[in-house]
Amino acid sequence: MSVRAIGAYAFPSRSRQELYGDDQLVHVWWRNNRFLCAAATFRAPKAMTWADFRAALMDPWAASDPDFDPASPAEWTVDGAPLVPRDDQTLEQLGVGHKSLLSFAG
């Protein structure tokens, strides 16, 4: 234990994955877009397909920027590693875990 405390000091994370059931949190970072001030955080089922994730969650957010072109996102990464997502793959299959960071250039 690194923290100095007057007694035992061990508490669970307030955002651990089990609190989201079969879902998890996913961050999406549009790397070369400064119009959106930060990456977005979504709650998505682990079994959600990439196509559904794009259509239901990511794209509506990216469309906050009126210049967003849904065909443009490319050079995907997940947690820093290159990713080539297929529409039928689930987030879990794609290696997207709880609080993973997806990023793209678009």
């Binding site: 000091y9 955002s15 906050s64």
Partner: protein, 518 residues
């Protein structure tokens, strides 16, 4: 027969404070003071604590009461003369909404914690100083509420601050900051708040608000500021005395104190990001830029004045201070740009800066504003002119430690958001900067417990999955949030000043913020 002689200030102070102390004889001292050894701080001689103000209870209450009387007389006069109509503009009050929501609750928390400390320090000197500060902070809470109640009658955003402090996303920044300090030991609290906040960073917080008030016709806040600042001079003294006392008591305290300075400079610096944007964006009549303010109140006075003094003890400048210096051309812009796109969920409104304001920003930030930020505002303005209003249709990634949305950029590259991740006991945590990551890695057991607003919304703990449900849970009322132009405050302002109805007063037809996805 000799006439009774008056005690000197020094002797009187001693007689009425320290000389009232006693050593317990039938109780173990460690049981009386159970919190002052676990942090590793060594105190050999509590009597070395100096209190330069040498206030005793009678003079304390006499002068505090006088300060209150003078303040309340001004508040009465302002209310009686309908002074709010003399503000430069209603949009100025967004700064004061942020103040009552984000600063006043910290005064109250400080009041409570100094009361706790006034019992649990071993030495009578700091106990008495903490007692005075506890009463001071309650006074600040009360006077801030009274000062701003005059505006609460006519403008939105101020009516529900105690509840909002515990619930609203941007207020978790000050809340988590202070609770980090309150859950630390008594010595860390002293370095965190009395030194790092009330001394090192205090002018960066207070002077912008109070000068901003003065420049924008806000007589109550300005007068409150002067009234409170005289107490703050005592608090600053406590902070400086605290650090010197700890450093002088034992050499082994030095590295512990250094780490606390490193941690609390950074936490405090991320907190005052909210001030930076206020200074550059929320004041219709500007005082000085954040950059100037930071250069004067921090670089010159603290790095140039205080830290050379502390070198004597082996204390060095705070870790990560170079990043804060490098960010001074960027900070306010990045933060207000963020608040602009999230104010649909805030207790204040935001708006695109007008042309002369944009020019002021260009002039004050010649290296960065036109290059990185003016294009963003031009685009937002175009959306507005086309009948829309740009909002971030979702929830932002938050930093686990400072809890600010991760809007900051890589040192040396203002076009790339900074991303830091650590895996701790199998779970990922995100940070906005090396500074926050360093803080987490020192005491992960604390920060894994963070109540992050975005995560809590997604867990269903904030009233519901949709934005309207969350805003209702926040206790926001119609007009509190969103765009300033066309807002309730704006419409009232125009009417009260007999301005003819104009196109500007129409609320821009904006896209509705999307529901937060569950």
């Amino acid at each position: 027969m000799s006439t009774p002689r008056k005690l000197s200030m020094k002797k009187r102070y001693s007689a009425l404070t320290r000389d009232l102390d006693w050593t317990p004889t039938y109780v173990d001292p460690k049981a009386v003071f159970p919190y002052t050894s676990f942090e590793g701080i060594t105190i050999h001689d509590w009597s070395k604590w100096e209190d330069p103000f040498r206030l005793t209870v009678d003079s304390y209450f006499k002068y505090q009461a006088e300060k209150d009387k003078r303040l309340y007389a001004v508040l009465d006069g302002f209310a009686q003369s309908q002074g709010h109509l003399s503000l430069t503009d209603a949009r100025y009050l967004n700064a004061m909404k942020l103040f009552i929501q984000g600063v006043t609750p910290l005064e109250y928390a400080a009041h409570r914690h100094f009361a706790f400390l006034s019992r649990f320090y071993d030495g009578p000197g700091p106990r008495f100083a903490a007692q005075c500060q506890s009463v001071d902070e309650l006074r600040h809470t009360q006077t801030e509420v009274h000062t701003l109640s005059t505006y609460n009658k006519y403008y939105g955003g101020m009516h529900n601050w105690p509840e909002q402090f515990d619930r609203v996303w941007y207020l978790s920044v000050p809340k988590s900051y202070f609770e980090d300090a309150m859950s630390a030991g008594p010595f860390e609290f002293l370095i965190a708040i009395s030194f790092s906040f009330e001394y090192l960073l205090t002018n960066l917080l207070f002077v912008p608000f109070m000068s901003g008030a003065s420049f924008n016709g806000d007589l109550p806040t300005m007068t409150f500021g002067f009234s409170a600042q005289s107490d703050e001079s005592r608090h600053m003294t406590l902070g400086l005395e605290a650090i010197k006392f700890l450093l002088e008591q034992d050499e082994a305290n030095v590295p512990i104190v250094q780490e606390w300075i490193d941690k609390w400079f950074w936490r405090g610096y991320r907190l005052v990001a909210l001030i930076a944007q206020m200074l550059d964006y929320m004041l219709p009549r500007k005082v000085m830029s954040w950059k100037e303010s930071f250069e004067l109140y921090f670089e010159e006075q603290m790095l140039g004045g205080l830290f050379p003094d502390l070198e004597f003890y082996g204390i060095t400048k705070p870790r990560h201070v170079e990043q804060a210096i490098a960010e001074k051309d960027l900070l306010s812009h990045q933060v207000y740009w963020t608040l602009y796109q999230f104010s649909f969920a805030a207790g204040f409104t935001t708006t695109v800066p007008e042309a002369d304001h944009l020019d002021w920003l260009s002039a004050n930030y010649p290296e960065t504003f036109d290059k990185y930020f003016r294009p963003l505002w031009d685009k937002a303005k175009k959306i507005q002119d086309d009948g829309g209003r740009f909002f971030f249709q979702g929830l932002p990634q938050l930093c686990q430690v400072c809890q600010v949305p991760m809007l900051f950029t890589e040192p040396g590259d203002p076009t790339t958001l900074a991303q830091r991740q650590v895996v701790h006991e199998g779970e990922r945590y995100d940070f906005c900067s090396d500074g926050c990551q360093w803080i987490f890695e020192r005491e992960p057991e604390k920060y894994v417990q963070a109540w992050l607003p975005v995560h809590q919304i997604f867990q269903g703990n904030c009233g519901g999955p949709s934005v309207p449900e969350v805003l209702a849970w926040y206790g926001l009322q119609d007009g509190d949030a969103g765009e300033y132009l066309g807002s309730v405050d704006h419409q009232n302002w125009e009417r009260w000043h007999d301005h003819a109805a104009s196109a500007d007063v129409e609320a821009p037809v904006g896209s509705e913020p999307a529901e937060a996805r569950a």
